[in-house]
């Protein structure tokens, strides 16, 4: 399966800039989410009503359409850990504070599938349209669904993930004693065009993705089994991208991967449930720039849930 487009909105200079992976800057308290000129992608009247998560997702989707030249994807698949939080909170507060008739807009936009639904509306696309929401594994579940589609009759699948932060998350993190991540809780979106066809736009290949929820076995065994099913061993992997350095000890990850270099992504993506999608975009650009042949994305943002995604270069 070929990755024919990638688009990410993050704290990095990642939008419509192929060189972004060479300009990575760790998040600090002052760094902000980039804001593309959304008017280039969304009509002003519609834009005014849209929350951040919808804007980000639509801009990334349309960017993927442009990059790949695929006007009509055969499926639109989205992963989101917490969905449209801003509109959910807004409507919730309205139900508690307003009397009489409440405006419906934030209710309409509160459902998780507003993202995929809005993409289908913007693209006038009638094909398979789905939303996965399994906290830290939401993106991997979307990817697995995309793989199913490409193994069926579909040729091109638009797949992505998005999450948005609201101030309440910081407040809760503090109360739960998660001080080290508090100012790094943020928003982000990454979308991809996957295809069975290699084109001039192809950047890398997606080999497989796999999840284990409520894991009760050794991560090392799960990784070995996953690689074995794909005819590989850990020695075939040039780089591991991990989104967990902040929450799992360095030693634990190094031990699992032995001599394979592990690159943390969380310090550049920040924390949100679908930051492994940021990792996938980073990995694709590393492969496109020939710095590696095979990359394993290792998602243990939530310690008991494991996500594995295997990428390889076009030549591999």
């Amino acid at each position: 399966m070929y990755i024919n487009a990638c688009s990410t909105i993050s704290h990095q200079n990642s939008f419509q800039n192929e060189n972004w992976i060479n300009e990575l800057v760790p998040l600090d308290i002052k760094s902000e989410l980039i804001t593309p000129d959304y008017k280039e992608f969304i009509a002003p009247a519609a834009l005014r009503r849209m929350s951040k998560i919808i804007r980000m997702s639509l801009a990334c989707s349309k960017d993927c359409i442009q990059q790949s030249g695929t006007e009509t994807p055969d499926a639109i698949i989205v992963g989101t850990g917490l969905g449209c939080l801003a509109d959910t909170e807004k409507f919730l507060n309205n139900t508690l504070t307003l009397t009489g008739l409440i405006p419906p807009t934030s209710f309409i936009q509160s459902t998780h599938n507003t993202i995929a639904g809005q993409i289908s509306l913007e693209l006038k696309n009638h094909n398979y349209n789905i939303t996965h929401t399994q906290n830290s594994l939401s993106f991997e579940h979307a990817l697995i669904d995309a793989i199913l589609c490409l193994n069926e009759e579909d040729s091109n699948v638009l797949v992505g993930a998005a999450d948005e932060a609201i101030p309440l998350l910081d407040e809760l993190a503090k109360q739960f004693g998660l001080d080290e991540i508090t100012h790094k809780l943020t928003s982000g979106a990454s979308f991809f065009m996957l295809s069975n066809n290699k084109t001039e736009a192809s950047k890398a290949q997606l080999v497989d993705s796999y999840t284990v929820g409520l894991n009760n076995s050794s991560p090392g065994d799960i990784i070995d089994d996953f690689l074995k099913r794909n005819g590989l061993t850990i020695g075939d992997i040039d780089n591991v991208l991990s989104n967990t350095f902040g929450t799992v000890s360095e030693f634990e990850i190094m031990d699992t991967f032995n001599a394979t270099p592990v690159k943390p992504i969380d310090e550049c993506s920040g924390y949100y449930f679908t930051n492994s999608a940021f990792g996938m975009h980073l990995g694709v650009e590393m492969l496109a720039q020939n710095s590696s042949k095979r990359i394993l994305l290792y998602n243990t943002l939530n310690n008991s849930n494991i996500g594995l995604t295997l990428l390889q270069s076009l030549e591999a």
């Binding site: 917490l82 919730l92 995929a116 639904g117 996965h132 906290n135 830290s136 199913l148």
Partner: protein
């Protein structure tokens, strides 16, 4: 490849298990009543599950904090899973679905936040939809493929479809699929803000229908392939006949007047299942009772079946609209229709919709063999799903 249904579980306004639901459907007994269990001062009609969350926690032997959505899902999943064992050689997963997850607890948290400086923070820990499913998986001892779909009111049907595809592509051998949603003030106010919450009993497919009544509940079915069946020796209750999901791409909430997305979903499901429209014995309609849905769905049925629309009914006149759970609850009803050769009546109907003149089944119909049942679920965002069930 054949995919079999070997377990069913349901909890809704018309019963706490499959048998109670079946008897209510046969006896035209609705579960939609003035609100009683949910703390509310409003005078509204709701299809509530007739048990408090505290009673559910005690019965299911779980610990608080847990959302009512998890509790309803667990009750149904447990019934569908009943008697099954874990076996390392059967790759087993669970796919649940919900539209609002732990909103029942979240809205309590927000209310407390407005009223006090020390809201109960544990209430917000059950908010995310993935956690809703993990609580169900934990109680049943399932680990591995654990996933949640959220496509508003078509979610339950989509969970069934995804489970089937994972089995077809040899990623799983056995998977519990379904969904749950609890009644919340959030969703009630939401549908009211759209002016589609009826203060009268819901009248699906009636010319004078004026909106939906919300319900709550959970539904699950257990899917297995041959390999799994060889080990479990479970009885085949029914088989999956086809499935499809499409996007209406017309409006964020309203369905298109030409029923484009729904027509595509029904016809694609028939095509995937290689089933001729004339083979369909019964359509368990989405039939929410809103002016928009029932018209659009009627048009879609006529588009696909022309002059020969099969007997159809909406069981939401019993349960209310259970949102994400509806596709899963109605999957259980579809299996019951196949098992007992029965078509369930549509309540509160008197006058056909002028534009389409379709007449739903209004009496318990036991006069025909029921071989193929088609179930529709349509949601916000123009998300349209059809799942077909057939005799095993």
């Amino acid at each position: 490849m054949s995919i079999y249904i070997t377990g069913v579980g349901v909890i809704s306004a018309i019963g706490l298990n499959v048998e109670e639901n079946y008897q209510s459907l046969r006896n035209k007994k609705t579960g939609i009543e003035p609100i009683n269990y949910f703390p509310s001062t409003k005078n509204i009609l709701v299809g509530e599950v007739k048990l408090s969350s505290d009673d559910l926690i005690a019965q299911l032997n779980v610990t608080a904090p847990i959302s009512r959505t998890s509790l309803l899902g667990l009750a149904a999943a447990k019934e569908a899973w009943e008697g099954n064992q874990h076996d390392a050689s059967i790759r087993t997963g669970i796919i649940s679905s919900t539209s609002v997850g732990g909103m029942d607890n979240s809205e309590q948290y927000y209310k407390q936040r407005l009223e006090s400086d020390t809201p109960d923070i544990s209430l917000i820990t059950t908010h995310d939809s993935g956690t809703t499913t993990e609580r169900i998986a934990t109680a049943l001892g399932i680990s591995g493929y654990i996933n949640t779909l959220s496509t508003a009111c078509s979610s339950g049907a989509n969970a069934i479809m995804l489970g089937a595809r994972l089995i077809e592509q040899n990623r799983l051998d056995r998977v519990l699929v379904g969904g749950s949603d609890s009644f919340t003030n959030f969703t009630e106010e939401g549908f009211r803000s759209l002016m589609i919450y009826s203060d009268d009993w819901v009248k699906p497919f009636d010319e004078n229908r004026n909106g939906l009544n919300l319900g709550e509940g959970g539904g699950f079915i257990l899917l297995e392939n041959e390999k799994s069946l060889n080990i479990t020796n479970n009885k085949k209750l029914a088989a999956l006949g086809g499935w499809a999901n499409t996007a209406d791409a017309y409006h964020q909430t309203a369905s298109s007047p030409d029923g484009k997305g729904a027509t595509l979903a029904i016809s694609n499901a028939l095509k995937i299942g290689n089933i001729n429209p004339s083979e369909v014995s019964y359509v368990n309609a989405h039939g929410t009772g809103t002016p928009n849905n029932d018209l659009s769905e009627s048009v879609a049925l006529k588009n696909v079946f022309k002059e020969k629309v099969p007997p159809f009914s909406s069981t939401k006149s019993y349960t209310g609209h259970t949102l994400a759970a509806s596709g899963a609850i109605e999957a259980v009803y579809s299996v019951l229709a196949l098992q007992h050769n029965v078509i369930f009546p549509n309540l509160n109907y008197s006058t056909p919709i002028t534009d389409t003149e379709l007449v739903p089944e209004v009496n318990l119909n036991e006069s025909h063999e029921v071989n193929v049942v088609l179930s529709n679920s349509f949601g916000f965002g123009g998300n349209n799903s059809t799942v077909i069930f057939k005799k095993a």
